[in-house]
Amino acid sequence: MKLKTLIVLMIMLLMSYVPAMAQGDPDVINPEDTTVAEVITPAPATNLSASDTPNDHGHSIDLSWDLSVDDGAGMNNVIGYMVYRATSMDGPFESRSGLLLKTTDYIDAGAINEYENGYMPDHTDYYYKIRALTADTAVYSDSEIFGPIQSYGQWFNWERLAVLLMVAGFLFLTVFFINKAKKGADLFVRRLAGIEAVDEAIGRATEMGKPILYVLGLGTAADIATIASYTILGRVAKKVAEYQTGLIVPCYDPIVMTVAQETVKTAYLDAGRPDAYNEDMVYFVTNQQFAYVAGVNGVMLRERPATNLYMGKFYAESLILAETGTVAGSIQISGTDEISQIPFFVVACDYALIGEELYAASAYLGKEPLLLGSLKAQDYAKAGVIFLAIIGFLSLMFGYDGITDFFHVR
């Protein structure tokens, strides 16, 4: 009974599709009329096969079959299919899908957890059949039953092999070059104007007796740009402590604030000036984009910092900050990986680190071999990308798309 209502409902749902499909007599859909109409049992779907869904967490089975010969041809009375499943050969079978139109495959996925509705346990024998339905709820035909089949989770997602190879390759490169650097190999690094300017800017601030403003941006603790910014802040704070210049770090995200406090404190300790550290150098303003900007603008105009450093994630506020900084007469150095904001920093700041340069900056400032090693690894990876791109072009030219497929990660 329940099944019947379900099918009636499905058919009613189908009504909305009828104009688009332009098949089947709309009158037949009315359940009351179907008792009169004479319908012949259609041919069943054939070649049903099932297998565990690959590269997943289990609780799911892939099904495929061939269309009934009466679907869109022959007697042309099949309106769609439904998937049925049972835990034994003799049933009871329950429906697992809605009405599937002209479909030859289906993924039967259940809930993962026992407490959820529709839980589908792994390592259980399942039997499947496909029912070809006609407009008459009582007239249908079932395919042969396929089974038993079990679902289970895999331990490795092969579709993501490309990512694993990249991570592993990059990890190897990084460790390799860091070791090389440790052994004293001289690693050349080209100069980056924006980073060299940081040193000068700290010196300038000291001469002028004015503080340095460091803005970590709007990134949350979950952004790697913010992590990169902590490390730059660490180096800047250390120099600031050595030169005994002031440092102001207004924060947007409270977690970022705590990390930044820890970073600055460590830097002052490293510089041998723990006494000069003051908890209120790094403070929280507010967790709201433009309120934060209003607050930082105020600091710029009232404290008149000699240098403003913007490092991290920035959004629309980038230009407000940079223009106010210009009015205040500060030297401004920025770095962000937020592509839509780089143009504004490039236009309005004295120096702008573009994208990857932000991530390279901490290595530059530290000039530690360990960190320079990772820059070398980055370069090799870029060379690898260029190499791959060329191989990709060539292979596409010869009509082979295996390489592009390999890098197509779902």
Partner: protein
């Protein structure tokens, strides 16, 4: 000094007078509005609309120079917004998300549907409390455990996420055919057209993309001196970057002007009633 002080007091008095004037006028115009049921409502609504308008003007005054009105609006904004996010966070995250997963008593107290006990929600609770240990000068170092957890998890999770969503998809999208729909030299010239979906335009675009990406990447090389051919490529790379930045900048002007239009519409329409 005394003179500038008296001038600023006069300005303040004028501002207050204008504020009251606007409030009164606004309240009387509301009075005739059938939607507002009582005098009290019109007075109250008129106050809020006038305040919003004056705060808008206070922020605009910043364009001239820093001044007490901007300072007032700025400080008020900082305080109120910080508290607002605190309250939103408390109600939607702690009450809406944490409480229903850990305690039935608290769920009833806050009138949220209890979802059942989930021990996993104790992890953030404990980490949050550990983080609060910062306030203790003696045990503050314990809070680093929470920071370490956050930074470690973030680093691992985002490393993968960016590799997947941005990096690899961009790399694989770079694999574009450099000869679109190539059928030979003859057809290429005989069907030559400049239409944007035509073969020539598509091929040209793909070449520009290829060279742009290639030179852009060269520009980002750190461990090699940008000299010779390498230097030329890197220079082409920065050209492409600059053209893009200029284009983005030019494109954004439109959006920013729209925002200003929005604010001025508020002033002209909702406050002054100059336009309908």
């Amino acid at each position: 000094m005394a003179r500038s002080k008296s001038i600023s007091i006069i300005i303040l008095l004028v501002v207050i007078a204008l504020f009251i004037l606007s409030w009164v006028i606004k309240a009387t115009t509301f009075e005739s509005d059938p939607d507002r049921i009582s005098l009290w409502f019109s007075v109250r609504d008129a106050f809020f609309i006038t305040m919003a308008a004056f705060l808008t003007l206070a922020i605009f005054s910043f364009l001239y120079k820093d001044n007490p009105y901007y300072k007032f609006a700025e400080h008020l904004f900082v305080g109120i917004s910080a508290a607002y996010w605190m309250c939103v966070g408390f109600w939607s995250t702690l009450v809406g998300n944490l409480v229903p997963n850990i305690s039935e008593t608290l769920s009833t107290f806050f009138k949220v549907p209890y979802k059942g006990f989930h021990f996993t929600y104790f992890v953030p609770l404990i980490l949050g409390i550990i983080l609060l240990m910062r306030l203790s000068s003696k045990h503050g170092w314990i809070s680093r455990w929470a920071l370490a957890w956050i930074v470690g998890t973030t680093a691992g999770l985002n490393l993968i996420r960016y590799l997947r969503t941005d990096f690899i998809s961009q790399v694989s999208n770079t694999f574009v055919p450099l000869l679109v729909d190539w059928k030979g030299v003859g057809p290429f010239f005989s069907d030559f057209s400049l239409s944007s979906t035509g073969q020539f335009a598509m091929t040209l675009s793909n070449w520009v993309i290829f060279i742009g990406v290639f030179c852009g990447l060269i520009y980002f090389f750190f461990s090699k001196e940008h000299k010779g051919i390498f230097g030329t490529a890197s220079r082409v790379g920065i050209w492409v970057l600059m053209i893009t930045f200029g284009a983005s900048f030019g494109y954004t002007v439109m959006g920013r002007v729209s925002l200003l239009v929005g604010r001025l519409t508020y002033l002209f329409k909702d406050w002054l009633g100059l336009i309908s």
